[in-house]
C-alpha cells in the first residue's frame, strides 16, 4: 500500500562490531513473478543475544528468517542484498548468497540452525527422535568417533531437559507431547553448537505452561552456548519475555528496531504503537481493540474503558458468587444470579444454565460435574489448556455433542441433548462460532449465501427479508453490505471471522458460543474482534460463552471466569476475583506462566 516505509529508529547494535555473527543488509526477496516481498531489510544478530522479529502474518518475517539460511520457499527467490555470517573460529565471513549447494548444506544445521513453528509437522514421524538428532551430527561429521556422537545426542537431550537414555531416544515423535516434541527440535538445533539460531514461532502452538518451559529452555540454551538468536513471532508478550532487541516488520519493511524496553515502552512508529495497543494484558490496564487497524468503528471509544470499570463493579456485587464457591456450588450461584435478576427481569430462571454436565468416553472422563450460569449481556470465559474439555463442553451446550449426562437449560427449559431434537427456537437461541475462520466458511459460497443458511434452516421470512437480515448482520460486525457477494477466499482472516460471527448473529440468538475464535488471528485482529464482541454485548444484550486458552484476554472480555482443568471447573467467579485470589493451584500456575507484559 504505502511506498517504501522508513525505519523510524535504528539500533546502535547494528554498527559493525566484533560481537556480530550474522548481518543482513538491504535484503530483497521476490516472488517468481518478480513482486517484491521484502523491500530491503537490515538487521544484525550478536552473540548471546536474541533479536525478536515481530510482525503479522504475511509481513515477511519467516521469509526473512529463512533467507538467512539461504532457503527460499516454493515461489520465492533471492532478489538482492547480502547475508553475511561470521562463524566461530574463522577469520573471514561467509556470504550466504555466494555459496553453492554443498557449502550451503554444510552451513545449515551446523553453523546456523532452524527451530520450526510446528514440531508435530517438522519432525519426521517415521524416524525415532534420537535418530533425528543423530542425523544432524552424522551429516556434519561431528567429533571424531561414533562414541562421541552417541554421547552428544544424550548430552543435548539432557540439556533441553529431556531424559537422554536409550529408551527415550528410541521413541517415535507421536509418543511425545507437543512441548517435548519442540524440545527435540531445540536439541536438534543445538546439537552442532551453532553460531546462529532462527526460531520461527516455536511456541505458537503450545499452551501457556508448556510455552513458558520451552521459552526457559531456549533462553538458557542461548546463553549457555553463546548463540545469536532470531526469534520470529507475532506475540509481543513473548518478545518481551525472551529477546534483548526487537525489530518490527510491516509488509516487508523493518519499521522500528531497538532494545526491547525502549521499543515496547516507547514505540515511535505508528504501527508499533498500534500493535502495542492490541496486546491483551492480564492486568487489564488498557482496552484493546480501540485503535486497531481493522476496527472500523466510530470513535465513541473514549467511553470504552468503562467496560473494564463496570467489570469491577459487577465483580463487587457478584462477589458472593465467587467467594468460596470454587465451582461446585451451583445452588449458591443460581440463587444469587436469581436475586440479581429478580428485580429487573420477568423470568426468574437464568438465561443459560449448565447443571451437572458430565461426559466420559470409556474410562476417560472428559467432563465431570460442570455447573455454570450465564445471564443476558454477560460474558463467561471458559479457560483451559488443550485437552481440558473446554471445546467438548461448548459443543454439549450447543447440542453438537449429545453424549453427555446432566442438563443444559435455556431460560429454565431443559434442552434436548442433540440439536436435531431441540425446537427451532432453542436452536436459534444458541449459536456457535468456530475456531478457524479458514475452514468454517464454505469457500464455494459467497458470504451472503453462507449467512442465509441459518435463516433458511429456521424457515423464517421471505428471500428479501432474509437478504435484509444478512445485510444487517454484516453491518453489525462492521463488514458492510458490500461483502454480501464476496467469497471467503477474498477475505482476510479477521474479515472471515467477522463473517462467521455475522452468521451466528443473523438469527438474533441470545447466547453465542465462541470456541477459540481469536486464536488463529493476529493480535491486532484479535483486538478488533474483542472490541466487536464488546459492542455486540451492549447493543444486543448478547450472552457470550468465550472459550479460550489465552488467560490474558480475560479482563478484556469476560465478567466471569471459569477455569477448566481435566474436565472439572476448578475456579469459577467474577474475573477480577478469580485473577486476584485464585483458589486453585492450577489457576495460580496458569497466571504465573503468562509472559509478563
Amino acid at each position: 500500500m504505502s511506498p517504501k516505509t522508513e525505519t523510524v529508529r535504528h539500533d546502535a547494535a547494528n554498527e559493525p562490531n566484533e560481537k556480530i555473527v550474522l548481518r543482513v543488509s538491504d535484503l530483497r526477496v521476490l516472488t517468481n513473478a518478480d513482486d517484491e516481498i521484502l523491500h530491503g531489510v537490515d538487521f544484525a544478530l550478536s552473540r548471546g543475544e536474541i533479536l525478536g522479529l515481530v510482525g503479522e502474518s504475511g509481513s515477511g518475517k519467516t521469509t526473512a528468517g529463512l533467507a538467512c539460511m539461504g532457503h527460499f520457499r516454493e515461489g520465492l527467490k533471492f532478489g538482492s542484498g547480502s547475508v553475511s555470517i561470521w562463524p566461530r573460529g574463522e577469520a573471514t565471513h561467509v556470504e550466504v548468497g555466494d555459496l553453492d549447494e554443498v557449502a550451503l548444506r554444510d552451513l545449515r544445521g551446523s553453523r546456523i540452525a532452524y527451530i520450526p513453528q510446528d514440531p508435530a509437522l517438522s519432525l519426521n514421524p517415521a524416524m525415532r527422535v534420537g535418530e533425528q538428532i543423530r542425523e544432524v551430527l552424522d551429516i556434519h561429521d561431528f567429533g571424531s568417533s561414533e562414541r562421541e556422537r552417541t554421547d552428544r545426542v544424550a548430552e543435548v537431550l539432557v540439556d533441553v531437559g529431556l531424559p537422554g537414555d536409550k529408551a527415550y531416544q528410541k521413541r517415535w515423535p507421536h509418543q511425545l507431547s507437543g512441548g517435548q516434541q519442540q524440545r527435540i527440535g531445540i536439541a536438534m538445533a543445538f546439537a552442532m553448537y551453532p553460531d546462529v539460531l532462527i526460531l520461527d514461532e516455536p511456541t505458537t502452538g503450545l499452551d501457556v505452561s508448556t510455552q513458558s518451559v520451552v521459552l526457559d529452555t531456549i533462553r538458557q540454551m542461548t546463553v549457555a552456548n553463546n548463540v545469536a538468536g532470531l526469534y520470529i513471532t507475532h506475540d509481543l508478550a513473548v518478545i518481551k519475555d525472551i529477546s534483548d532487541r526487537v525489530a518490527v516488520m510491516l509488509r516487508g519493511d523493518l519499521v522500528e528496531e531497538g532494545p526491547v524496553s525502549s521499543v515496547l515502552d516507547d514505540p515511535q512508529h505508528e504501527y508499533t504503537k498500534m500493535l502495542m495497543a492490541a496486546v491483551p494484558d492480564l492486568a487489564g490496564r488498557k482496552t484493546i481493540g480501540d485503535g486497531a487497524a481493522e476496527a472500523k468503528e466510530p470513535s465513541e471509544d473514549d467511553e470504552k474503558t468503562h467496560i473494564l470499570v463496570s467489570t469491577g463493579e459487577r465483580g463487587g456485587s457478584g462477589d458472593t458468587v465467587g467467594s468460596g464457591s470454587g465451582g461446585d456450588a451451583p445452588d449458591g450461584a443460581t440463587a444469587s444470579a436469581g436475586e440479581r435478576d429478580g428485580g429487573a427481569a420477568s423470568a426468574n430462571a437464568p438465561l443459560l444454565e449448565v447443571a451437572d454436565v458430565a461426559l466420559a468416553y470409556g474410562k476417560a472422563q472428559i467432563l465431570n460435574g460442570i455447573n455454570m450460569v450465564l445471564e443476558p449481556g454477560e460474558c463467561t470465559m471458559l479457560l483451559g489448556e488443550s485437552g481440558s474439555g473446554k471445546t467438548t463442553l461448548s459443543q454439549c451446550v450447543a447440542g453438537l455433542n449429545d453424549d453427555y449426562s446432566g442438563s443444559v437449560r435455556l431460560r429454565g427449559t431443559e434442552l434436548a441433548r442433540s440439536t436435531r431434537k431441540r425446537t427451532n427456537e432453542q436452536r436459534v437461541g444458541i449459536q456457535y462460532v468456530f475456531q478457524s475462520p479458514f475452514s468454517s466458511l464454505n469457500p464455494r459460497r459467497s458470504i451472503g449465501q453462507s449467512l442465509s443458511v441459518p435463516l433458511e434452516m429456521s424457515g423464517e421470512g421471505t428471500a428479501a427479508s432474509r437478504k435484509a437480515a444478512v445485510e444487517e448482520a454484516l453491518d453489525s460486525v462492521r463488514l458492510g453490505r458490500s461483502f454480501y457477494h464476496r467469497r471467503p477466499g477474498d477475505l482476510s482472516g479477521g474479515e472471515r471471522q467477522r463473517a462467521a460471527i455475522a452468521r451466528a448473529l443473523v438469527n438474533a440468538p441470545s447466547v453465542m458460543v465462541c470456541d477459540e475464535i481469536t486464536s488463529a488471528l493476529d493480535v491486532s485482529v484479535q483486538a478488533s474482534i474483542v472490541a466487536l464482541l464488546r459492542t455486540l454485548r451492549e447493543e444486543r444484550q448478547l450472552a457470550l460463552l468465550f472459550v479460550t486458552h489465552n488467560i490474558a484476554l480475560s479482563r478484556h472480555i469476560a465478567d466471569n471466569l471459569a477455569v477448566l482443568n481435566k474436565g472439572k471447573i476448578v475456579d469459577y467467579g467474577p474475573t477480577a476475583s478469580v485473577l486476584e485470589n485464585p483458589s486453585h493451584e492450577y489457576t495460580r500456575a496458569l497466571i504465573s506462566d503468562v509472559p509478563k507484559f
Binding site: 548444506r105 552451513l107 540452525a113 509437522l121 517438522s122 519432525l123 519426521n124 517415521a126
Partner: protein, 317 residues
C-alpha cells in the same frame, strides 16, 4: 506388538479365504448341467450316470462334498479333473508356474519402475517432462490390456519389426523359460498396464510429502538432497502407494487371463478358459481359489508395508 498386528491380519485373511471357498463352491453348485452327463455324452444310460456319480462322489450331500474338497485344499489335493480324469494338481502345476513367472516378472519390473518414475515426476513437477509423462501415463492407463497387447504385436512382431514372436512357440510340456524371447511381449504388456497407475499415485503422494514440514526441516538441517528424498520423503509416500500396488498386482492375477489368451501363453488363464468350456468344475474351483489367495496375499503385503512405514500404526494397534 508388530507380530500381534500381523497375526491378527493373517487370521483375518484365513477367514476371507474360507468365505471365498464357500462362495466358489456354492457358485459351482448353481452351474447348470450335469458333470456325469457332460463326460458320458447324450447317449449315456441312467445306470452308467449313477455309477459315475457315485465314483465322483456326486451322490453325497453338498455340505459333505464341500468339506471333502476343503480338506483336500489343505493338503494340496485339488481333486480330480472331471474332463481329463487326471489330478487337478498335476494338470495345473506347470501352468501355475508359467503364469507366476509372467506375473512375477511384471511385478518386479513395474513396481520399482513406477515408484522411480513417480518420484522423478514429483521432483520435476510442473516442468515439461512432468507434463509429458503425465499425459503418456494417462493414455496408457486408459487403454485396455488387449489393445496394448495387439499394439505391441503390431509393432514388434508383425507389421513394423519382426524381431519378437507374436505367440508362444513352446510346445506343450516344454517350460516357457526355455525360450525367454517369447516372454518379452506378454510381460511388457502387463508392465504397461500396471505401471501408469503406480506412477500417478506415487507422483501425487510424493508431491504432498515434499511440501511437508519435515522435508523442509531436513533440508534446513543440511541433509543432502539425495538423503532427503530417500530417507525422509519416499518412505512416507510408500504407505499409500502400497495399496495401489496391491490392487494392481491382484489385478495381474485376473488380468493375466486376457493377456495369456492373446499370446497363446500356456498359463492359468488358458487353463481357466479351457476348464469353463469343458465344464471342468474342479479346475475352475482350484483356479478361483488361487486367484483369491493372490488377492489376499498381496493385500496383506500392502498392509505390512503400510505398517512398516508408519510407526503410529505399529504402536497404536
Amino acid at each position: 506388538m508388530f507380530g500381534k498386528v500381523i497375526g491378527k491380519r493373517l487370521l483375518f485373511s484365513a477367514f476371507i479365504l474360507i468365505a471365498v471357498s464357500l462362495l466358489v463352491f456354492g457358485a459351482t453348485l448353481l452351474l447348470p448341467g450335469d458333470a456325469a452327463r457332460a463326460i458320458l455324452g447324450q447317449q449315456a444310460t441312467p445306470e452308467r450316470i449313477a455309477a459315475l456319480n457315485e465314483q465322483l462322489g456326486l451322490d453325497q450331500p453338498a455340505w459333505q462334498r464341500y468339506f471333502t474338497w476343503l480338506g483336500g485344499l489343505f493338503v494340496g489335493d485339488f481333486g480330480t479333473s472331471s474332463a481329463t480324469g487326471g489330478s487337478v494338481g498335476a494338470l495345473l502345476g506347470d501352468r501355475v508356474g508359467a503364469s507366476f513367472i509372467l506375473m512375477g516378472l511384471a511385478a518386479i519390473i513395474s513396481v520399482p519402475l513406477g515408484i522411480g518414475l513417480g518420484v522423478f515426476q514429483a521432483l520435476h513437477r510442473g516442468k515439461r517432462r512432468d507434463q509429458a509423462m503425465t499425459g503418456l501415463s494417462l493414455v496408457l492407463a486408459a487403454m485396455p490390456e488387449f489393445v496394448i497387447g495387439i499394439g505391441l504385436i503390431a509393432i514388434f512382431a508383425t507389421s513394423v519389426f519382426q524381431i519378437l514372436p507374436a505367440v508362444t512357440l513352446a510346445p506343450p510340456g516344454e517350460p516357457v523359460w526355455n525360450r525367454p524371447e517369447q516372454l518379452i511381449l506378454p510381460t511388457l504388456t502387463l508392465i504397461l498396464v500396471v505401471t501408469p497407475y503406480i506412477v500417478r499415485m506415487m507422483r501425487a503422494t510424493m508431491i504432498e510429502v515434499l511440501d511437508s514440514g519435515f522435508v523442509e526441516m531436513a533440508r534446513l538441517k543440511g541433509v543432502p538432497e539425495k538423503r532427503v528424498i530417500m530417507r525422509h520423503a519416499v518412505p512416507h509416500a510408500l504407505g499409500p502407494v502400497a495399496q495401489v500396488v496391491a490392487i494392481q498386482l491382484a489385478w495381474l492375477a485376473g488380468g493375466v487371463v486376457v493377456v495369456e489368451f492373446l499370446f497363446r501363453y500356456p498359463g492359468l488363464g488358458q487353463a481357466l478358459i479351457d476348464a469353463v468350456t469343458y465344464r471342468d468344475v474342479q479346475v475352475v474351483q482350484a483356479i478361483s481359489m488361487l486367484v483369491a489367495a493372490v488377492y489376499v496375499v498381496v493385500n496383506l503385503a500392502a498392509d505390512v508395508v503400510g505398517i512398516l512405514t508408519n510407526p503410529k500404526l505399529r504402536s497404536a494397534a
